[in-house]
């Protein structure tokens, strides 16, 4: 029994085709990724956890800003301290100069 061209095309289209090598492994890998994503979405769907994560993020950002501000203040304070000592040393040196002259002139 001969098939007409339409039947021939239909048979080819519906015929069983072997998958390419490694197909099963790829499918299993995709399923695993999908499960991980679903698990993460599952955790984030808990409102309390979302709040906790948000608060933790804010606290972290505040801590970073505060740390940075502290470092800048520390540098300014150290510089101010050094400047005070420079000023006192210079004042002392010039007072000493004046005092030595006064002593010399009065002797």
């Amino acid at each position: 029994m001969t098939m007409d061209p339409f039947e021939e095309q239909l048979k080819q289209a519906l015929g069983r085709e072997q998958p390419r090598a490694g197909f099963a492994g790829r499918v299993r890998a995709r399923i695993a990724v999908g499960e991980d994503r679903t698990r993460l979405r599952g955790w984030l769907s808990i409102p309390q956890l979302r709040w906790v994560l948000g608060i933790l993020l804010c606290v972290g950002m505040l801590a970073a800003v505060s740390y940075r501000h502290g470092k800048v203040e520390h540098a300014r304070g150290e510089e101010a301290r050094q400047q005070v000592y420079v000023a006192l040393r210079l004042a002392g040196a010039k007072m000493q100069l004046a005092e030595s002259k006064v002593r010399r002139f009065s002797d």
Partner: protein
């Protein structure tokens, strides 16, 4: 001028006086600084002095306590120090504008030393406002150095004495008290 503006101006002027007097350093000093070998420029207002005091307190030593006691009385510390390699880099014209600001009834010379041989001149001015100490200015001219130190605030001789022996301040120095009625009382002019 409307009376309200006059009152506002008087209040502003009074508050400026209450907060101390800033001595303007002439622009020529900036040009000199460019030629100088060593430059020290200190500008510390009340806020910065407070910040410095916190750090000095952390030092936990006796000097720190004395320095902080002094800083607590100050409104500001202003220093300009120029050191040159060769003599003759600055002239009287550079110093005169500073000296001109240290005239007037509030200022008195407590020490005035002019050594013509070594060409060293040191003048210590004290400021008194309403009979109360309001700061010191040290203006020192040496052949290769020009120094201006302004300790602005209600410090007196005892505060300076407390620091003697430290920072190069002579151990047995007794800075004379400023006396507005009797300026130049301790001045020495050879």
């Amino acid at each position: 001028m409307k009376p309200i503006y006059s009152v506002a101006l008087v209040v502003m002027a009074a508050s400026l006086v209450a907060h101390g007097q800033k001595i303007e350093i002439p622009a020529s000093w900036d040009k000199l600084a460019a030629k100088a070998d060593e430059v020290d420029n200190v500008t510390l207002d009340k806020n910065m002095l407070g910040l410095a005091a916190k750090f000095i307190k952390d030092d936990n030593d006796h000097d720190g306590v004395e320095v902080n006691h002094l800083l607590g009385k100050l409104n500001g510390i202003y220093v300009r120090h120029l050191e040159f390699k060769n003599p003759g880099e600055f002239t009287e014209a550079d110093v005169a504008p500073v000296r001109a600001q240290l005239q007037g009834p509030e200022w008195s010379h407590v020490v005035d030393v002019n050594d013509k041989n070594s060409k060293e001149k040191v003048v210590i001015y004290a400021r008194t406002v309403n009979g109360k100490a309001a700061g010191f200015v040290i203006l020192a001219e040496e052949p290769t150095e020009l120094t201006f130190v302004h300790l602005d605030g209600s410090i007196d001789a005892q505060d300076i004495d407390a620091l003697s022996g430290n920072f190069g301040i002579p151990k047995d120095i007794h800075a004379p008290k400023a006396n507005p009625e009797k300026p130049n009382s301790t001045g020495v002019k050879p």
